[in-house]
Symmetry: D5
Subunit: 96 residues, 10 copies
Amino acid sequence: MIFQVEMDVRIPHDLPAETANALKAAERERAQELQRAGIWRHLWRHAGRYANTSVFDVESPQALHDILSGLPLFPFMDVKVTALCRHPSSVRDDDR
Amino acid sequence: MIFQVEMDVRIPHDLPAETANALKAAERERAQELQRAGIWRHLWRHAGRYANTSVFDVESPQALHDILSGLPLFPFMDVKVTALCRHPSSVRDDDR
Amino acid sequence: MIFQVEMDVRIPHDLPAETANALKAAERERAQELQRAGIWRHLWRHAGRYANTSVFDVESPQALHDILSGLPLFPFMDVKVTALCRHPSSVRDDDR
Amino acid sequence: MIFQVEMDVRIPHDLPAETANALKAAERERAQELQRAGIWRHLWRHAGRYANTSVFDVESPQALHDILSGLPLFPFMDVKVTALCRHPSSVRDDDR
Amino acid sequence: MIFQVEMDVRIPHDLPAETANALKAAERERAQELQRAGIWRHLWRHAGRYANTSVFDVESPQALHDILSGLPLFPFMDVKVTALCRHPSSVRDDDR
Amino acid sequence: MIFQVEMDVRIPHDLPAETANALKAAERERAQELQRAGIWRHLWRHAGRYANTSVFDVESPQALHDILSGLPLFPFMDVKVTALCRHPSSVRDDDR
Amino acid sequence: MIFQVEMDVRIPHDLPAETANALKAAERERAQELQRAGIWRHLWRHAGRYANTSVFDVESPQALHDILSGLPLFPFMDVKVTALCRHPSSVRDDDR
Amino acid sequence: MIFQVEMDVRIPHDLPAETANALKAAERERAQELQRAGIWRHLWRHAGRYANTSVFDVESPQALHDILSGLPLFPFMDVKVTALCRHPSSVRDDDR
Amino acid sequence: MIFQVEMDVRIPHDLPAETANALKAAERERAQELQRAGIWRHLWRHAGRYANTSVFDVESPQALHDILSGLPLFPFMDVKVTALCRHPSSVRDDDR
Amino acid sequence: MIFQVEMDVRIPHDLPAETANALKAAERERAQELQRAGIWRHLWRHAGRYANTSVFDVESPQALHDILSGLPLFPFMDVKVTALCRHPSSVRDDDR
């Protein structure tokens, strides 16, 4: 099943650069791992903002939570989750 | 280039049913036409609401506007447009 | 899996009383049917408002959407859906 | 009587980890104690966010306040309280 | 126990005057009945708006709901309910 | 004349405990003084939040401002002031 | 004492023109009467909107309410009232 | 001097088509007249919405109001006005 | 021409008192200077909040910006600017 | 294609002045460079606020993102992006 997740990242300016960069690198690695696993299906950047729209394909809300709450940058995110489902006018079968 | 478009549809209760159904049928037909053309890339229903998240792949904002403002249900929609671009952590090449 | 659903009902004052009462009766019947089926797990009224908090136990967001969008009063509802999952501090096993 | 309580937890990034972990452990212990006492009836996590929806069964608003304001993480919470009551369409007797 | 209730009244301009006046008269009568019964403890008008702040002393949220949802003008109200309790700095004993 | 005042208190976590406690003690003392003087007519706690609804009986907005801005916790408050007046349906004479 | 009052006027498009014009004329007359009486001290139009900022000099919130609720266009207004008082840096004595 | 004006147009569905089309034609004519006069300096459509961002070069807020409130579609607009001025980093002299 | 300016002042609690007091003194001096010059026409305190409503009479938005951005407390203000103009029902000539 | 970008700048008071000034100087230089290149077409200051409205003429949302996210003050900005296109009533050809 699929969930739209919008993540607004706000890293406090007084977080040591070293810490911030390490978090970003770990975030990137984890995001790519999940994409290759077909879980993190889409990851788009909002033009002009440190925010993204993602679409996750997971077993359950619990699985979604475990993934998101485990992201390195999770403590610095405002997250909005929208449960999605197939639109009756969709012509695609793989767009669960 | 790609745009995230969220459409909240509110059809007034006093719109004659016949008119509403004709609009919905025309909307469905147009949406499927645009999907088959690869323009309306994704169309997901928000679970529990008469709303959707769509992703459009268009030449320009002008093209996007012509499509959206031409939709039969456009007069009854609250529309939110977010310009998207490739996320630096995305592993996909086709997710422009 | 479980979803919190908050429904704010606003029935237009110019909707014929007969129509409104028929919708309410059908809504009530459907709600009780779904509760007995264990799908509509909780249904609480917000004290002082024509609104409720419900908890649904469904197979997927799609199932949730089919149920909610099929409710007789759906056209007159503002609906807010929150995907829930087990809280790590919960002592209950049946509160999926 | 029952109250819906939504808790959004925001722990400042510059709170020493030790302090934060101690608070979380105490919070967990207190939450489980209240659940076993039948006061904290439901505790669900919002998928993807450090937030929960809870349902409390208490004697009065005063009792609710004493419980919530005594929670270890209370100083770091945005709390929204909604007084609930039995829905006329509810089929359950124990869902006070 | 006591609840703060803020009522914003919006009577549609196309509601026949006769109906509106009858509703207002019935509302007034019911409000005064409840005040004399000590249930509707305080009723203040927001200066400059068709809105009020009230304080109700009731047995439970259910009692509050039955009262508010039974008010003649209820269908035309936006209602906000806040559960109150004794403030630790209050010097009054009767201000439950 | 009377004013409804809602005070949301947010004490920064990095304010030394000693300072915070001294402020709270002074706030309590001042609040009780004003209540005994009949100025701070009502003081109710919002159940579950570090916030209150108060009703002040003062000579003028200026008097209200001098009182509120002089409260020890004023710098840590979000304050919302609503001018109240007698409701035409009120049966009380002393509820100015 | 003085109050800032912001009035947003929204006249429904299906209100007969004749009725609307009569209301506007009566509103104008009443506004000028109150200005000449020194009660409606300031009346400024928000550039580009059917809205105004006014400053009233009245005896009490009750007086303010009687004036505003008696305005012909009151039923079509969203009103925001802010109690004002003398600013400590003001050099004016007559700007109560 | 220049003002940014954002206009959100919402034409009620029950406004006769003939009336709506006449208003739109008159609006177009007036807009082009003002553009040629150098007053309506910029007029951009928000992609996907019946809304625009405009920049007006006028003598005063009063002039701006007279223009906007005289637009045929003004009664169906939500208008947001932002006073602009030269940015210290602007390299343009004519961007009043 | 005139502008309504609402200033919400939030001075961080960890700003050294000495700095804060110096800023406030400078702000007061500058405000009085501008009032005596007839530029800062009105300055009212919002009762109960560290906020004010002001009315400025300036040559242009640029002049307004230079004044406001030069205020000592500007960095700690949330500012809302509304362009005003003469109301057709105003009886005053000097209220530009 | 063109995008409206509104930037609200909030520089934390505890950011060393030296750092802040260096960022502002770099921001200014970069902004002027982009303006001279015809990319940053318009840059207006919101009168009274540390915010601007800009119009960018870029190849794609990706290009817009690279520019904005590369701005020295980007970490201290709240950014709102609106995709624009030619208004059917525009008389200008170069206002793409």
